[in-house]
Symmetry: D2
């Protein structure tokens, strides 16, 4: 069987490298083209990662595949979509605004950038939450709206911010079960979320916490409501959930930790909440997509879990680990729960989550 021909934009950055890892040996997608900035263009990928001193900037635990290492890097601003069936884009927001529509005219663009995340006809997919979900909470059809409106053969679909990801995945089963009314969240985010240039300086984070990440809180509040919203006609009606959060950076390499407090419209029990979380996304998982984990959410009974270093790699970084599940009665609402979650910010929260979205869209015929 022919594999779908994929390109990665922004291939030399942290998120781009994660796309390479997620696509290495992929049964359905074959990485055939790579693009980065002009500076890297015309070099083999392995050479583009190496500087004059011999230093190689490869940030993933997994080794770079030899096949990928030999690919020639193209200049993203000049690359055509010829011979490409799908684009995985991991470029900064400004570049995304320029580049992504150019490719979307012809082929699907799965993106990690926020550039188009808030446009009305652009779905922000989260597997099993609003993609492969049973009713009007499935947003897949918004792709058709986008294509029609923009006259594109392809489309753009950005993933959520990495901090939104873990929270929205855990809120969805609670919303289905009890009706989420409001959410208060404090994040303790890993440094890899900031990329590497400039990224977070050791001078800023060693023996320290940085209590602010520019723009992050607004993104989380806005995206959560969009992702949990319903598709009515040609538009998403955002979920009527109050969301308030404080986003901080801590001295952790990978894996975002979030302390979540939830008020619900209906009463429930911890046993029900746990069951809802652990059973979440069963029908989506039953599709057996290559990048899907065994469970989307795992609940731990050890009160000292989840911990980012120990739990970020659960389900190869695709399982959100929840712990410290307790009742929450202070927030108001009929009932509520509070918990801590760990979500891998560069796996499910970025590139590999994007590949899982692409797998589902392939299954549904949106990618071909």
């Amino acid at each position: 069987m022919e594999r779908i021909r994929a390109a990665v934009l922004g291939a030399t950055g942290v998120a781009g490298q994660q796309f390479l890892v997620a696509l290495d040996g992929h049964p359905s997608f074959e990485l055939v083209r790579l693009a980065a900035s002009e500076r890297s263009a015309g070099k083999r990928y392995a050479d583009a990662l190496r500087d004059a001193s011999g230093r190689t900037s490869w940030y993933c635990k997994e080794a770079l595949s030899e096949e990928h290492a030999r690919l020639m890097v193209e200049d993203a601003s000049k690359m055509s979509s010829d011979g490409i069936d799908i684009v995985f884009a991991a470029v900064e927001s400004d570049a995304a605004r320029e580049l992504e529509p150019r490719f979307a005219e012809r082929v699907p663009v799965i993106s990690t950038a926020s550039a188009y995340r808030y446009e009305a006809d652009v779905p922000v997919f989260l597997p099993a939450v609003n993609l492969g979900a049973p009713g009007p909470d499935d947003h897949t059809r918004l792709i058709d709206v986008q294509r029609r409106r923009r006259g594109w053969k392809g489309f753009i679909t950005p993933g959520p911010n990495c901090t939104t990801t873990g929270m929205a995945i855990t809120l969805k089963p609670l919303h289905d079960a009890f009706g989420v009314e409001k959410v208060v969240m404090t994040s303790l985010q890993a440094v890899s979320g900031a990329g590497r240039t400039p990224g977070v300086s050791a001078l800023d984070i060693v023996d320290n916490v940085i209590p602010y990440i520019a723009g992050e809180e607004e993104k989380v509040e806005r995206e959560t409501k969009k992702i949990l919203g319903l598709l009515e006609g040609d538009a998403i009606r955002p979920a009527a959930i109050g969301v308030s959060c404080t986003c901080t950076r801590v001295n952790v390499l990978e894996g975002h930790t979030e302390a979540v407090f939830v008020a619900t419209k209906r009463r429930g029990s911890l046993a029900e909440a746990r069951e809802a979380l652990e059973g979440f996304g069963r029908s989506f998982l039953d599709l057996g997509l290559p990048s899907a984990p065994a469970r989307l959410i795992a609940v731990s009974d050890d009160p000292y879990r989840p911990q980012p270093r120990l739990d970020r790699d659960a389900g190869s970084g695709m399982t959100t680990v929840v712990g410290r599940l307790r009742e929450e009665t202070t927030l108001g609402g009929a009932w509520g729960v509070k918990y801590v979650l760990v979500s891998h910010n560069t796996r499910m929260g970025a590139a590999k989550g994007g590949v899982l979205v692409a797998e589902y869209l392939l299954h549904k015929g949106y990618v071909k």
Copy 2:
């Protein structure tokens, strides 16, 4: 003028050493006696800190005073209160339950332990919050109740848990101004709060967050209501505030960071909230007590502050630094604010806070 003769119990531990630093060169208190476990008894203090290999276990940035270094360590379980006017106790809770009453029969005991914190006739003082406050929110008089009930010449007064401290200090002016209805808080606590034996292992905290500190959340919820309560007759009526929190440990040496979300009964403005915070405790500060800082609360406009490494030493560790002050409308209530604070857990949050309490009680004649 004669100085008050002070003893420190648990002098070799982290908190005990902080008492020594806080008392070094103190104008009113003279450290005359030191006690620790039987193992250290009979040695000069500097020798008690040194093990067989020559390793000296002194955990403070400040140098050990030469005068203190020469003091002979006594066995706490056998020490009498002769020649002592006040005891600063920094022992584990179990030891505190035994030792503290024995001294309290004769002299005031200022403690960092939780052993007696929740007994009805035991005040948990926080300077300017419920000590040196103008009305029934001043709990000083509970000392008289305690003495009367227990027939003691002295008394026991433990300080709050180090995580309660920063939150209660910042809630008080907001409560006075707007009436606090509920509070949701996530703490990012420093490792020094766990002491040193066993303390937090590097294997547990490097590149990690630990999402649980046994007993901490219950303490914060209970103590906050007690400290902000009113003294009615002979008893404290806890404040009717809903408190919900998640306490985590992060890879920071000193300084607890807390993300606080507050719903209030009355509407206000950020300018008013800021003014309330910055002006807090003016009359208490005007007493000019030796360990009091210039300001109990400082508010930063830099969105990237407070940071524990940069702000923990504000006011020599006695000023709580608040930043990211924003409106909070999700929690319910008429209005609300959210903010991040940094409080020094072993200064205001432990020994030096205790010394400030003692200074006020000396001023009021409860210590003499």
Copy 3:
């Protein structure tokens, strides 16, 4: 084919757990018995790791095998050697002195403890260095001497200190090629080497270096000479190499980094040194033992490598990674090289290295 029945002593500690991981699914060894202190005895292994609060103390990245989880823990001080063919011991030195001979009377004991490391009839095996080496540098035969002298059916063979391991592995090919005359080494050791109780406190190592590890330098100096020595008659003649080192602890979880300066008796070239390092142990590796990596030593050209976080897992923690290979002419000698190495202290440097030794001894008939 029947598998060899193995027991692990000290199964609940950091090193013991590493033995469990190294034995999980092993083709030749079957873990049938586990022992730890009296406190754990009588519990299933998974329960012995869990404390009253529900906290599970499992320190390895790999999941605990379900089969191992169900094994019943025995009291090491009372365990017999019935039904056991080989013992992997990971207990403290004092306990090792007592326990190991009791088992060695009947079966081979592969140990991580230093208790017997310096006795004349006890080999300290390092794969391909003095085990499976071609001439009098092979120490295997010392097992016969030990058995004869002590009248044991089994024997004791401890692995080297984890800091010795990487240095001795890289010195051996240089010694063979150029004759090593003297070595100066500074280690930057990971915290996992100190175990977990007490281990290294976060308060000691965050934003810090500890310039001393009690006893470590003496061990490295002594063991290096023994391991690189020749077996003459029934005794090892230590190598006549001057060894001087300073051992420090740095804020790294796993993987010891060592800066090594070597003076040699014969002149050579960097190309020859590199070839010697990379080709090391070929005949040993050709045996295809299950725990052996593809290469015992890998040499990197990237001047910024090796780095412990990036290179400790090379060859599943069994490959020593060398970088920054340069000529060294200051030390004296005819010639010399200097380099930096990273060696995984709890894999090749402890349990998994021990399992590889056992695999070779099984191959040679010493284990059966």
Copy 4:
């Protein structure tokens, strides 16, 4: 008494800020002018440190002085030397090559840059080592040579690399006492040495060691010989000492740790070595210069010291702390010692060390 009017070039960077701290309240120097890049020119200093988001980039523990905060920043490339008596320069090497001679035509330039460090008529001063030393090891007179050759009224004198500093300070008394023949050194350097833009990324250093700092080893080897050399006629004859080193970066904020192995020409004892180290620079210290510490070198008996976090601030960062002093017999030579040192890389190793040099040159009439 009139104070000397000082300017700081590169005032907004890490090293420049350290100059401001070192000059705050200085009895002899008054900071009257500040220069930085064009981007900062025309703003008050406090405003130049603040970005659009309100974030203030001040990297020192000490507060910015209010007087300095109000100074107007000038464009370094256009600043004249009018009204300035001395320049403290903390700019990158390329900028230094352009800017420093322009000022040196008129006034003394004390620099932290390496641009002119290796020119024959440029002294690299280290207090008490080759500045204020008794004989031909004093290099002060090289200033006269430089002025004469270049026709300048002022002069340029750069400080050594921060890694050279601690090693050269400790080698000098050993060289005087025993004749140093060769030195092998491994450094464990702090991240602050790399500055802040780009500096060291948290992604690179958390749970890690970086075994290479570009150019560092060559600097240390070359500078050490120059600094310890003798001024013969108009030129420095470098010391005939073999120097070999490996420079690494560790996860420490400030304070370089160095493991030093020294071979000497003459035999000695540890007691003599210790006495030489502790007594070093007595006559220099007796001058009572404002930035001089009580002791240039302190020797610790605690085997676990020096530690960068605990010892970097000794003598306000101007004292080099030595520990683990042991005999070294492997290296060759008649005798030898090995030890570990901690030196504050941004105090004695940079700005404050430069201010101390200026104080001595003021005392000698070279600055006026």
